[in-house]
Symmetry: C2
Subunit: 421 residues, 2 copies
């Protein structure tokens, strides 16, 4: 299909979503929750249909010789479909942010002013491999009263379409306005550009994928973009750290799930404990198959580390690789982190109160930890019940984005004929 055609079709879908958004915005929680439960039931009842579509995607991916880890993320089975359904049910059980008030005031002139949460309107979500994102994104947008336009990756297209059509049909049957959920079946990069041009139709775009996709959206979209999920996360082991705790935290942050954005990529060690701690942690990490790349000072202590380059400090490995730097003091640790982090999650391990406090104040990131693993940056772990991603920007939302972060506010002003002097 030509670019113009794609842009036109995307524009039509965005316009349909926009048209339905006003109705969805005032739908009751009851209707939305019933729809989510009906969607969960439809998913389980029709799992054979979804697995069939998914098998076609998986076969095609294998024929293209895609990476095993990629094919794993793409593959659905009964358990994963049950997890998707459970996600829909859990979203139904969460409190609805729409209509919540966070400010009410009576002005001297008698005007009553309230600020209440309202949906954003239409949310565009652009994602890559995993087909379960289709169900997740539909659930979170629906519960927060937002219409959505989804655009998934090419490898999961058949799976995504099967899930989308099934869930959309169930939702509409349960009373959700027709057109409020849209799926763009165009997998070219042009479709991403076309969504970014839908100013006035789409209120926000959330890209969920690699750094390249996010950068492309942020730099090219005329619709506001919420950047999520790029994580160059650090752990700094201070000279007063409990080294047993430090080792546990580091192993957890690096190895428990190296592919995710809250995994650690760089370890900073205070010079006064480096000679003792670095060989010890290096041994533990190597036993876990972690490749270590060190600064000059680190290699002076452990000469068998390969040399870290400037590029290493900037890299989200997403893999069992860790860069290690020995730093002279807390100031140098904070300076390194603020230079190279992506504003996601950074941790200090320390027993020193002042250093803990300074680290939390001075490190510029969405989540700043004392004596805990960066792996906790997550909507579920934070108690939000769900998340659409981890925002690494400062505007609108920062950190795990739950249902509340998918809303805006509106001021309601009630008077008795007041006019302004």
């Amino acid at each position: 299909m030509s670019d113009n055609n794609i842009a036109e079709k995307i524009g039509q879908k965005a316009a349909e979503a926009k048209k339905a958004a006003g109705k969805l915005a005032i739908a009751s929680s009851k209707t939305k929750n019933e729809a989510l439960l009906a969607m969960a039931a439809a998913l389980i009842e029709n799992s054979a249909e979804i697995l069939k579509a998914n098998a076609e995607d998986v076969t095609a991916a294998k024929e293209k010789n895609l990476k095993t880890s990629y094919i794993d993320r793409l593959t659905l089975n009964d358990k994963r479909i049950e997890q998707m359904a459970e996600g829909l049910r859990q979203t139904a059980a969460l409190p609805d942010p729409v209509g919540e008030g966070d400010l009410e005031t009576l002005r001297p002139n008698g005007l009553n002013i309230r600020r209440v949460r309202v949906p954003l309107g239409v949310i565009g979500i652009i994602y890559e491999a995993r087909p379960n994102v289709t169900a997740d994104a539909m659930a979170l947008c629906l519960k927060s009263g937002n219409a959505c336009l989804l655009r998934g990756g090419s490898e999961a297209l058949k799976s995504n379409l099967a899930i989308f059509n099934l869930l959309n049909e169930a939702a509409v049957k349960a009373g959700i306005p027709q057109g409020a959920m849209q799926f763009a079946e165009f997998t070219d990069r042009e479709a991403v550009g076309a969504m970014g041009n839908c100013r006035g139709l789409i209120d926000a775009i959330i890209p969920r994928g690699g750094a390249g996709l996010i950068k492309y959206c942020a730099e090219n979209s005329k619709v506001p973009v919420i950047e999520t999920g790029t994580g160059v996360c650090h752990t700094f082991v201070d000279e007063t750290a409990n080294l047993t705790k430090a080792a546990e935290i580091i192993v957890n942050a690096k190895t428990s799930r190296p592919s995710v954005c809250n995994a650690m990529e760089t370890l900073l060690i205070h010079k006064n404990i480096a000679a003792e701690f670095l060989p010890r942690i290096a041994k533990i990490l190597r036993e876990k198959n972690v490749e270590l790349r060190g600064s000059e000072e680190a290699r002076a202590i452990c000469p068998d580390l390969s040399a870290a380059t400037e590029e290493d400090w900037r890299t989200e490995y997403g893999d069992l690789i860790l860069s290690v730097k020995v730093v002279p003091d807390l100031d140098a640790a904070i300076e390194h982190i603020n230079k190279y982090n992506t504003g996601h999650s950074d941790a200090i391990v320390t027993e020193n109160y002042t250093n803990a406090t300074r680290f939390q104040r001075e490190v510029d990131a969405a989540a700043v930890y004392v004596n805990a693993s960066t792996r906790f940056t997550d909507g579920f772990e934070f108690g939000f019940g769900a998340e659409i991603g981890i925002s690494t920007q400062k505007l609108h939302a920062r950190g795990p984005m739950g249902l509340r972060e998918l809303t805006s506010v509106k001021y309601l002003i009630n008077g008795q004929g007041q006019i302004r002097e």
Copy 2:
């Protein structure tokens, strides 16, 4: 200066602001307040210098035959300088949003999670004629802990530079980090584009000016933009309205200050009262020199109205012009508003409870009024003590933006060695 040179200089200024932003972010309220008071004192002490620079701008504007209203906004005098100084003092007296917490939780695993307000970082402010914006913007950014890069319009350049240099010097003397406040003396449109390219250096751009400037920024900036201040505001007079109140509200909303964004541009009247109310309000408005442009139904009642075109419904006149439409019912009024408004402020005049409630729920705007003038949409009138503009977008902030809206959040997580399962 060539475009490349401008881009390079803007980049340097943004980088200097970014460098100082970390220090300013952790400056105490005491230091910031002392700086604001010192800035106010410096303004008064050196008013002669500012008036001299301003006189040169005014002379040049007159030579260019610029509009009287424009020259009026450009002109400073002792009273206006005192108002600027008073603005600085009032900002010093406002509560500091930085460090305020709005969430604290203890998770089952013992992690303590807090969400606290932090500055955005570096804010770019792009504005047009009025030189007092220089002092306002510096004060609000400083108090909220944000570094800033200001870019004012060409006609006020000498005034802006005089004010900026004076205030910056006073602030630095009072302990504000050198470089935290920057002024870009490049008045070409290229400078606006260059600021929009400063991703990673500037955290948000707020354009304060006409619709053209705002659209240019929103469509071309790679830095997130907060859109402010475009107002096509409506008042709908329902069939149950108290017509005396309605007339007062309409006169106030249209004529008390027609050039501002919260002034009314379109009047909608329920058909059941149009024959009575339209001639009455038309007479009152004409006595106030308001030009009226009507829909077909409106002209059937008042044939002397000129015909409103499709373009009229979309136009922010900013002048003593009002478009008038007779609508069959509340639904038609809401539909018209949601089609043509800019998401700023809209009002209903009604005595009907259900219609009041429906209007507030269904109209999509930052501020939705019952029985009051739209002119109240303002940070001071809302009790925020100050404002940098009225956001007409839904992301990050909506409605009057005070100090709180110039901040982001950060999660602080305190543990005792927790790792994730």
